[in-house]
């Protein structure tokens, strides 16, 4: 049963998974090049760290979109048929949802493995400064967790609200931005900082995105 659910999920998502995996694979190389403005240039440890501190969150952005896109793919076929087929199958609805969730979550591994391969490839080609270390495992695990978080939140939203999920998310983002802007202009910047900190710093729900995405660090 899970095998068939996974099979359908692979069939629906394979193009998206291929594109996302390709992006995840080349991303470490692009980051490295952006950090060093070239492959062969001499660089300092500080320069590398600053570069990754600024550009590393791009990995988090890609992780977010990996989760987001795979959820859209997971439910698209059922949504197109108004869930009639899924509901007519002799299986409790909660179990069906769990199987769909599990199959989609498993597919997150493909871009994650692609990222790990990309990281390992780039680390085998470049020399990092002596005082620094590479953290391919940590960055890859963080990528997987960020993608899983994004996938889970979007899956719940999509499940609860169907096609309205994207509108709800967009409204929430615009609302948070507008709220922060108004508070900031009104002189309550510290409130905005406190709220942002609560969301982005551990154990805040978005901490996995805001943590250090340092492929190379001390």
């Amino acid at each position: 049963m899970f095998g068939q659910i996974l099979y359908t999920q692979v069939k629906w998502s394979r193009a998206a998974v291929a594109v996302l995996s390709a992006i995840a694979f080349v991303l470490p190389a692009l980051l490295w090049r952006a950090v060093h403005q070239g492959w062969m240039r001499e660089y300092s440890a500080l320069e590398v760290m600053r570069g990754f501190a600024v550009l590393g969150p791009a990995l988090g952005v890609v992780a977010f979109f990996v989760g987001f896109i795979l959820v859209a793919q997971a439910w698209a076929a059922d949504a197109a048929t108004r869930h009639v087929y899924a509901l007519s199958l002799p299986i409790p609805w909660a179990r069906y949802v769990a199987l769909r969730y599990g199959a989609g979550a498993l597919l997150l591994l493909v871009p994650t493995i692609a990222l790990w391969l990309g990281v390992m490839l780039i680390l085998s080609l470049v020399t990092i400064p002596e005082s620094l270390n590479a953290y391919p495992g940590t960055v890859t695990l963080r990528f997987l967790l960020a993608a899983l978080f994004s996938y889970s939140v979007m899956f719940a939203l999509q499940y609860l609200s169907g096609k309205r999920a994207a509108y709800i998310l967009l409204t929430a983002l615009v609302g948070v931005f507008a709220f922060s802007l108004v508070l900031g202009l009104a002189g309550y910047g510290e409130v905005v900082d406190a709220v942002t900190g609560a969301l982005l710093r551990w154990p805040g729900p978005l901490a996995v995105f805001a943590s250090d995405w340092m492929l190379v660090d001390v």
Binding site: Q4, K11, W12, Y85, S88, P90, P92
Partner: protein, 301 residues
């Protein structure tokens, strides 16, 4: 168990306009039950309630002994369902659709599926999205029949199919019922199609079941009468008066349900006389039944 489907006091409402009201329905085990009604009368909604796809707001539903929606998944193990519109995944091929369906039905007969696939002329590698309406109908029927279901719930299974394909689909259905003695619940607005295969009939209109009776009774019990000196009062009549229209100063045309020849005496007792009795065909009976029910509804408002 004597009833395959048993519904009591079922109520469901969507918005202000449409509602299923106090629906009671009994489908005997082994029957081929024709579920008739005009478009928008609530047939598909009733089927979705029956299969647990919609939660009822009131009432009870039992399908094959299982309370629905709570144990819908257990009932669905024994039900083959063909919906009104194609519900299968568009990106799968015919073969993949069969394998997917098989994974969820433990009694699925793969050999029968293969036999029906060949009989219906479906190619294994055809994409579901590329199937014609007839081919899609055949694939859905193939899946339902290969499940070895005890109950087949078919929602307009032949709607829009050409006569050749309709005959193929109905032929496979009749063979299945003969071989397995399954119960069939078949919804349609094609009255003549139902007449050929059904032994029970339920008629739905405006979210209410306005009649449920054996097909034989439906076929022979509705008559058009020409009545002379027609009485004004109809409540005491031993039959159900579906409609009455004046033909002339002396005569009225009545359409009645539950007619028996000995009921002529009732007319004589009230000073009237039946001058002519006509049999209605099934389609006329269906139309008159709807007309009668709508007249009663308007009068009670």
């Amino acid at each position: 168990m004597t009833d395959a489907i048993r519904i009591r006091h079922l109520a469901w409402r969507a918005g202000k306009e449409f509602a299923i009201r106090d629906l009671a329905m009994t489908v005997p085990a082994g029957a081929i039950y024709g579920f008739l009604g005009p478009n928008g009368s609530g047939k598909t909604t009733t089927i979705r309630l029956m299969l647990g796809m919609l939660p009822p707001q009131d009432g009870t539903i039992e399908v094959l002994g299982h309370s629905v929606p709570r144990f819908a998944h257990r009932a669905l193990e024994r039900i083959g369902y063909v919906p009104e519109r194609l519900h299968l995944y568009q990106t799968l091929t015919v073969d993949e659709s069969i394998r997917f369906h098989k994974a969820f039905h433990k009694d699925f007969d793969a050999a029968e599926a293969e036999r029906l696939r060949a009989r219906f002329g479906l190619r294994e590698d055809q994409l579901v999205s590329r199937l014609s309406k007839g081919e899609a109908g055949k694939l859905m029927m193939l899946l339902a029949l290969s499940q070895r279901a005890e109950l087949l719930v078919l929602d307009e299974p032949t709607d829009g199919l050409d006569p050749v394909i309709r005959r193929e689909v109905l032929g496979a259905l009749v063979e299945y019922v003969d071989a397995r003695k399954a119960t069939v619940f078949i919804s349609s607005h094609l009255v003549h199609e139902q007449e050929r295969i059904c032994d029970w009939v339920g008629v739905m209109d405006g979210g209410r079941l306005i009649a449920e009776l054996p097909m034989q009774e439906f076929r022979s019990g509705i008559k058009r009468l020409r009545v002379a000196q027609a009485p004004a009062v109809r409540d005491a009549a031993p039959f159900a008066l579906l409609s009455r229209e004046p033909l002339s100063a002396q005569h009225e045309q009545w359409v009645v349900r539950g007619w028996q020849p000995e009921m002529r005496e009732w007319f004589q007792r009230v000073g009237a006389d039946v001058r002519d009795i006509q049999d209605l065909d099934l389609e006329e009976s269906f139309v008159e039944l709807l007309r009668g029910a709508r007249t009663v509804t308007q009068e009670t408002r």
